[in-house]
């Protein structure tokens, strides 16, 4: 059972555009929702994370929108650059990301064209 569903699988956006990646979760016990960025040959790196008590969080060019009633959250990348080309993973966990570990989505391969 896939507890975190991520879409789209791949996405191509022109430089300066705003790619949007969506995730939906099933387990209402999840209370921590991070996004990770992964470059080829590297491990995932934490980008930004949100708790369900807020509907939006911004850090630099990255914004998470969170809809608790719909059990959905999304990542927006403002003013996208070719250097943002990577695979992005949403994730979810209980109790702030601790002992239960993170449940990851399957990833979105993002390409930003110059």
């Amino acid at each position: 059972q896939q507890q975190v569903k991520q879409s789209p699988q791949s996405l191509i956006v022109q430089k300066g555009g705003i790619p949007i990646i969506n995730c939906a979760y099933e387990n209402t016990a999840f209370d921590y929702f991070p996004w990770y960025q992964q470059f080829p040959g590297k491990g995932p790196a934490l980008l930004i994370a949100i708790r369900p008590d807020v509907s939006e969080k911004k850090e630099g060019r990255f914004t998470i929108s969170f809809n608790k009633s719909a059990k959905q959250f999304s990542l927006h990348i403002m003013d996208s650059q070719p250097g943002d080309s990577a695979t992005y993973f949403c994730a979810a966990s209980r109790r702030g990301g601790g002992a239960d570990g993170l449940t990851f989505g399957k990833g979105t391969h993002l390409i930003i064209q110059p």
């Binding site: 991520q6 991070p34 491990g43 994730a91 990301g97 570990g101 990833g107």
Partner: protein
Amino acid sequence: GAGVSQSPRYKVAKRGQDVALRCDPISGHVSLFWYQQALGQGPEFLTYFQNEAQLDKSGLPSDRFFAERPEGSVSTLKIQRTQQEDSAVYLCASSSTDRDGNEKLFFGSGTQLSVL
């Protein structure tokens, strides 16, 4: 070092061989995780340590997988009698807690295991 270090970077094993993968976490990090990432997929949780105690091993796919962290720092993931389906990238992460109490995971670059 500044980050999580994993070795070897690549490992090729013949089916049936035993392998050992090493993880050096960020100094002072109490929590350590192992994840398995198949090609084109997201990481999947394997096991979790708090210091030397293995508190959760529910993600280990079979009894051929064994992890240890005897002194609460370096960890080793061992796979016995490797099978082709074990081919994947094995990621180690250690974590720190932010001011909101959330555990932030820092991943190493992984060990890419290929079983022939």
